[in-house]
């Protein structure tokens, strides 16, 4: 066996420097499958690191290079060295530079076709890498894939084993690009993506200290769809009581949270974006004043769809307006030009696939532009949509740029609204059923029905949602639980049984077993519960019993 490759403190090493010492490729890797780089940064979690590392080394997929990056904190070289596997590369850095820095540091040296991630207190199941490689190497144009993970609640006293209290699949949502811009539904530990995608997205943002994973999945979604593998392939830990996660602590600082959130939302990776349409927001103001600044800041704060704000102003007004915010471009125009002429001036240099035209007194709040934009994105008609709060005096709408361009070219002397009408482009308000996040709204309704004890209504909603919006395993599980509570045990058993055939989890096995028990089918109930108990079983690194941790890799 060869000792793990140990990198010296490399915080000052050039990022693109690929040390010859890092180049260890298994002679068989080309035959067996693409190389997968696993990044495992660690900081002050000595007691968990071995278990995490063991879980990577136990992967049935063998063509791995594994970067363990010590991001300062406790000494861990003894732990890493205790695993004499040539696939392990150890970057032993004494100073704490943060997780994004650590990931970038390893990525600079990575050679894998794919990149996967593991936190130092989480574990992969043995088939994790194989499942994701198979998904990405199969017939798909997705260059990113993710699976489901258990959120494992556990309690542990110092020096004791972690005791598992529960394992729930907390997030199992099919990929939804619009949702991804608003909320990260892909757990970082479950993610694998092509490494070359990072050439397009850019590396991890080292200015961030929370939501780091969302930042990268959001940027990846500009360039690829994500393949959802509906299998539980690992666990992330959630200690009972106060979490020791750095990100959890920093989320409590609301200012810091907002700083990170806005930095992520305003990140625009370099174009072209094969999977994302761009939005240009044209802000029309006569004379910029305090109200203009306020609207600009509100656009910054509340817009989650990627945008560029374009403001046509006279050169003198541009000089007067002093706002420091990203993604703003001032377009010089004659101070006497009409609103239509200002729009035309912007259109000549705007890149957006969609254009929102907004007055200087626009009401900007959560989802202000995303609601009509989503409706427009899903419309096949030649039409545009009014923004919320738009009035005849303060007209505001979102349109396809091609439609707007065509209308303006054909009717250049008309005001914008009239030119659209003349070009037969209807501008209307979105209907309720056309708005985004229908799934989430229905989910909320179902949860409210559950809270009211109307389990049948909740179950039917879950079933309908599964048929209409996907996320079928999740919805079947929810429906099964609701039917059980409603006393419809046969249906609960049937649905949970269907889920268990495809993706058994502790929750669904427990539910099906409860149904079997009530039907006096004890042998099946025992089989299901035994399976559930095994899933809950010790997946722990035992500091109290280190001999148990010696694995046959």
């Amino acid at each position: 066996m060869t000792a793990p490759l140990v990198m010296p403190d490399s915080s000052n090493a050039p990022r693109d420097g690929r040390s010859a010492r890092c180049h260890r490729v298994s002679a068989e890797s080309a035959k067996r499958g693409p190389l997968v780089t696993v990044l495992l940064p660690t900081y002050n979690r000595r007691r968990c690191l071995a278990e995490a590392l063991v879980s990577v080394l136990r992967q049935t997929y063998r063509d791995l290079e594994i970067f363990v990056v010590r991001d300062g904190g406790e000494e861990v070289s003894d732990i890493v060295r205790s695993f004499p596997d040539p696939r392990v590369v150890f970057i032993d850095r004494k100073d704490n530079r943060g997780k994004p820095f650590s990931l970038n540091e390893a990525l600079a040296r990575a050679r894998g076709k794919y990149v996967a991630y593991l936190d130092d207190d989480d574990v992969y199941y043995p088939g994790h890498v194989r499942a994701l490689v198979d998904a990405l190497e199969g017939p798909t144009d997705c260059r990113a894939a993710y699976s489901d993970l258990y959120k494992t609640s556990c309690e542990a006293a110092p020096g004791q084993d972690r005791r598992v209290l529960s394992k729930h699949v907390e997030i199992s949502r099919d990929f939804d690009r619009f949702l991804m811009l608003h909320f990260n539904h892909v757990l970082h530990v479950s993610l694998m993506h092509r490494r070359d995608l990072l050439d397009r997205t850019g590396l991890y943002n080292e200015q961030l200290n929370i939501l780091i994973d969302w930042d990268i999945t959001r940027r990846l979604s500009f360039f690829s769809d994500f393949h959802h593998v509906p299998a539980v392939t690992g666990e992330f830990y959630s200690p009972v009581g106060e979490s020791d996660r750095i990100s959890c602590r920093q989320r409590k600082d609301s200012q810091e949270y907002l700083r990170n959130l806005l930095a992520i939302r305003t990140t625009r990776p370099p174009k072209p974006w094969p999977k994302m349409k761009d939005l240009s927001i044209i802000l029309l103001v006569d004379r910029p004043d305090e109200r203009t600044v306020n609207v600009m800041l509100r656009i910054w704060r509340y817009t989650f769809y990627p945008y560029k704000l374009l403001i046509p102003l006279s050169a003198a007004d541009i000089g007067r307006l002093n706002v420091q915010m990203p993604n703003v471009e001032f377009v010089p125009v004659n101070s006497l030009s009409s609103p239509a002429e200002r729009v035309d001036a912007v259109l000549r240099r705007c890149e957006g696939d969609y254009v929102a035209i907004v007055a200087g007194n626009a009401a900007v709040e959560e989802m202000w532009v995303e609601r009509p934009l989503y409706t427009l994105m899903h419309s096949t008609a030649r039409e545009g949509f009014l923004l919320e709060g738009a009035t005849p005096q303060s007209w505001a709408a979102v349109l396809r740029r091609t439609d707007l361009d065509q209308a303006r070219r054909a009717h250049v002397h008309l005001p914008v609204e009239a030119s659209l009408a003349a070009a037969d482009i209807r501008v209307r308000r979105p209907k309720e059923e056309e708005l985004p996040f229908q799934f989430d709204d229905l989910l909320l309704q179902a949860k409210l029905a559950e809270a009211d004890g109307d389990w049948i209504a909740a179950a039917r909603l879950f079933e309908r949602m599964g048929e209409r919006f996907g996320n079928q395993l999740w919805m079947k599980e929810m429906a099964a639980r609701a039917y059980f509570e409603a006393g419809d045990h046969p249906r609960a058993g049937r649905l949970s049984g269907q889920v268990n055939l495809e993706r058994p989890t502790v929750d669904t096995l427990l539910l099906e077993a409860k149904v079997c028990r009530r039907q006096q089918d004890f042998s099946t109930a025992i089989r299901l519960l035994t399976q559930a108990e095994q899933m809950l079983g010790p997946h722990v690194y035992s500091p109290a019993h280190p001999e148990r941790n010696c694995c046959s890799i």
């Binding site: 529960s166 729930h168 959560e366 989430d440 949860k447 599980e477 006096q520 519960l529 108990e533």
Partner: protein, 205 residues
């Protein structure tokens, strides 16, 4: 719009492992595998140290293995954790019954029934103890209350009919047995008892 972020944000995270083990213990008890049941209940008790359920299960398993002292300890722990645990009181009553301390068993069954008027085990245990003691008034009252709440329960109907007869009330016994046989015409024991009631009534006529 509230984005639903998780599948189980409102779910108890602590209960799951405990629940799996308790359910498994109950299943093993149902099929008579008391060693496995005991193993599951012990693990469940360590995960839910404030829950009486696993101790009730341990008590039942110990009773089935004729370890009455162990069973008593387990039921007492369950009672201490939850003084309103009807099953724990019923368990203690069964132990008293096995030790032929019928007055104590009767009181404990009574306590159990007060805490859970649906407890068929307590009701039938009380019936057996009443028969042993030869005093039927109280148990007849409880069986009547129970049947008002569960009018089709033929096992309780049969017990009540037998008690009426022992208590010298053959008319009431006959009425209950006729109702029972209307519900379950093939109930052989009921048919036999009805025959006996008819003889008694003929003898007194």
């Amino acid at each position: 719009m509230t984005t639903a972020r998780t599948n189980d944000a409102d779910r108890q995270t602590h209960a799951q492992h405990y629940e799996v083990l308790r359910e498994l213990g109950d299943c093993y008890t149902s099929v008579g595998n008391y060693d496995q049941a005991q193993r599951c209940y012990e693990k469940a008790a360590s995960l839910g140290p404030d829950e009486p359920g696993p101790y009730v299960g341990l008590g039942v398993a110990a009773m089935q293995k004729d370890k009455l002292d162990d069973a008593e300890i387990a039921f007492r722990v369950a009672c201490r954790l939850d003084p309103r645990c009807a099953k724990a009181h019923a368990g203690l009553a069964m132990i008293a019954q096995q030790r032929r301390d019928f007055p104590l068993a009767f009181d404990l069954y009574l306590k159990s029934l007060e805490l859970d008027t649906d407890s068929i085990a307590a009701l039938l245990g009380m019936f057996q103890v009443s028969c042993e003691m030869g005093s039927f008034a109280k148990i007849i009252y409880y069986l009547e209350v129970y049947l008002r709440m569960h009018p089709g329960d033929t096992s309780v109907m049969f017990a009540l009919a037998a008690l009426y007869l022992k208590d010298g009330q053959p008319d009431q016994s006959k009425t209950v047995l006729l109702d029972l046989l209307a519900l379950e015409p093939t109930h052989r024991d009921a048919a036999n008892l009805l025959e006996e009631v008819r003889h008694t009534l003929a003898g007194t006529a």
